[in-house]
């Protein structure tokens, strides 16, 4: 009983901490710097709790109270750690970012805590309506964060676009849940699985239609191929630390629940392998095409996020529903999150006032003026491109080998081709930073070192995560 409480502790801590921060923000004396520090403390403590929770096999906390709606496993623990780490890094980079872009109020950090709470719930939820509610807790907080700069027209347009499409996807999800409830008689994953095993999957129209709608909603949230157009606009409109948070923590949470949903029964996974096969190939190549044409760094990173979703979809095609551990997916998410968050942390302080440096051309000659920042960005880009000995290489290696061992040779080959294509736009920024003369002085508000420290720590993490499987 006591152990159950500890398993849910990170989520409760972040949720209650978010409410506490919201109340604290009403006091005049509490500045947003103090709130940022408390936010970091909150995420740090929750991260340590999540690290301390060891889960040998999947456990159901408070089975009587929650009716088995939440399941904690090693996979949810790992994704929870990624989400909390992203929260910590976002608070750190936001601290410096808001020194140069003064539109922060202290509620900002409580909203990050609320969305992280929703994400943690999302990774653990094993029931469709719990998934829907967790998805909405997460999304509602993220919508507000995207439109946080109320003076900016681009931010307002971004939140309109995201809210309209996000609510649309949410409606798809509820309709899917309703149809699955009709087909299987329950919305709990275990009972849906039992119903599929007893009555079969292929002949049940309500189940097929329902799972189609649910998968469409998930594909929308991770910006996979037919539903990827919103992502570049929304990422461009949002403020830099929030873009980093959306690109990493949100994707981690949604992929965790996507994997949990697909592995609930072998029949369901088999039924969608072909569809996901084509979607993952198209996602990778369309993402690359979009990324190559971009001039803005944020849009390029958004498009490269689409490509990374494609790799993760390969891992979803290749999962083994009988012995699902989620290790490959969690590892790739960790590697991707560290790289992306690092670049966004660096952009948070290099961007300058009103995000004036955001294009490839603005970063010409960065290495001559700020060699350490340029080196850190290079490390992140090489990790995202998948060059050894970084974390990104190991992540891609695991995904490709899992695809080969699942018999999906074609997917493995396409994955490698796409990763070679993606070098083009990653190397372009490196070339800009190292092989041009500096035109800009890159002066920033130097008295606040929070984001630079965060960048350097994440750069070390790239190697730490990359070497982790070798040491263990």
């Amino acid at each position: 009983m006591n152990n159950d409480f500890l398993l849910l502790m990170p989520m409760l801590l972040v949720g209650i901490g978010g409410i506490g921060l919201m109340i604290a923000s009403t006091y005049e004396s509490i500045t947003h710097e103090r709130m940022a520090i408390s936010g970091m403390g909150l995420f740090g403590v929750a991260f340590l709790f999540q690290l301390g929770n060891t889960v040998a096999h999947p456990t159901i906390p408070y089975e009587q109270v929650f009716n088995g709606m939440l399941v904690v496993s090693d996979f949810t623990r790992a994704s929870g750690m990624i989400i909390l780490g992203c929260g910590l890094a976002t608070c750190m980079s936001a601290y410096t970012y808001f020194k140069q872009n003064p539109f922060c109020t202290s509620e900002f950090y409580s909203l990050i805590a609320f969305s992280a709470c929703g994400m943690l719930l999302l990774t653990m939820a094993q029931e469709l309506i719990s998934v829907f509610i967790a998805l909405e807790i997460m999304s509602l907080a993220i919508y507000i964060l995207v439109g946080y700069n109320r003076q900016s027209q681009t931010a307002t347009e971004a939140v309109l676009k995201y809210l309209m499409l996000g609510a649309f996807a949410g409606a798809f999800f509820t309709m899917g849940a309703a149809l699955i409830y009709g087909g299987a008689g329950s919305t709990k994953f275990t009972e849906i699985s039992a119903s599929i095993s007893a009555n079969g999957y292929a002949g049940n129209a309500a189940l097929i239609g329902g799972s189609f709608l649910v998968i469409v909603a998930f594909l929308f949230k991770v910006a996979a191929f037919p539903f990827h157009a919103w992502v570049t606009d929304v990422y461009e409109g949002a403020s830099t630390p929030i873009t980093g948070f959306m690109a990493t923590a949100l994707k981690t949470a949604v992929f965790a629940v996507f994997a949990n949903f697909l592995v609930l029964n072998n029949g369901l996974h088999e039924g969608w392998i072909n569809g996901l096969f084509y979607i993952s190939i198209l996602t990778m190549f369309v993402g690359n095409l979009v990324a190559i044409g971009q001039e803005s760094l944020k849009r390029m990173l958004a498009a490269s996020g689409i490509v990374h979703s494609g790799y993760l979809l390969i891992a979803l095609v290749a999962i083994n529903t009988e012995q699902f551990t989620g290790g490959v997916i969690a590892y790739y998410l960790a590697a991707y999150s560290v790289g992306t968050l690092g670049i966004f942390a660096a952009l948070s302080y290099l961007g300058g006032e009103d995000e004036k440096r955001m294009n490839f051309a603005d970063f010409k000659g960065l290495a001559k003026v700020r060699p350490y920042s340029a080196a850190a960005i290079t490390i992140f880009l090489l990790s995202m491109a998948g060059i050894p000995p970084t974390a990104g290489f190991m992540g891609k290696f695991y995904i490709i080998t899992s695809a080969i061992s699942a018999g999906q040779i074609a997917l493995a080959v396409f994955g490698i081709i796409s990763s070679i294509l993606s070098m083009w736009y990653y190397l372009r920024l490196i070339v800009n930073m190292y092989f041009h003369d500096a035109v800009d002085t890159f002066e920033t508000d130097t008295c606040h070192k929070m984001a630079p420290v965060c960048t350097m720590v994440l750069a070390l993490c790239v190697f730490a995560i990359g070497l982790y499987p070798i040491i263990i």
């Binding site: 309506i129 829907f132 509610i133 909405e136 509602l140 919508y143 507000i144 439109g147 109320r150 027209q153 681009t154 307002t156 347009e157 971004a158 939140v159 309109l160 676009k161 809210l163 309209m164 609510a167 649309f168 949410g170 409606a171 798809f172 509820t174 309709m175 849940a177 309703a178 149809l179 409830y181 009709g182 008689g185 329950s186 919305t187 157009a229 919103w230 992502v231 570049t232 606009d233 461009e236 409109g237």
Partner: protein, 98 residues
């Protein structure tokens, strides 16, 4: 019997979907999304009757609560948009072209 209820639900869902795709007014778009959520609620309640369990009713209530929260946020966004442009037509919001 269940077929008629389901048919109504699917028709409502499709009307909502068409509204989101074709309408240009922000309000109408959000109303269409509410319509889609209500179509799902109708399906929940109808299936609940079919399975003779109360689960579906509870789930429909949950969906309504979430829809209300979403509507509150949507209205706040509409006010923000109106402050910027003075119009609620989605065609005038064209700074971001992806």
């Amino acid at each position: 019997m269940i077929h008629s209820y389901l048919m109504v639900s699917v028709i409502l869902f499709c009307i909502g979907m068409l509204g989101v795709i074709s309408r240009r007014n922000v309000f109408t778009v959000f109303m269409s999304i509410e319509l889609m959520l209500n179509a799902a609620n109708l399906a929940f309640v109808a299936f609940s009757r079919l399975h003779e369990s109360m689960d579906g009713h509870v789930l429909a209530l949950m969906v309504m609560a979430v829809a209300a929260a979403e509507a509150a946020l949507a209205l706040a966004v509409v006010i923000l948009l109106h402050k910027h442009k003075g119009k609620l037509d989605t065609n005038v919001f064209s700074l971001l072209k992806g």
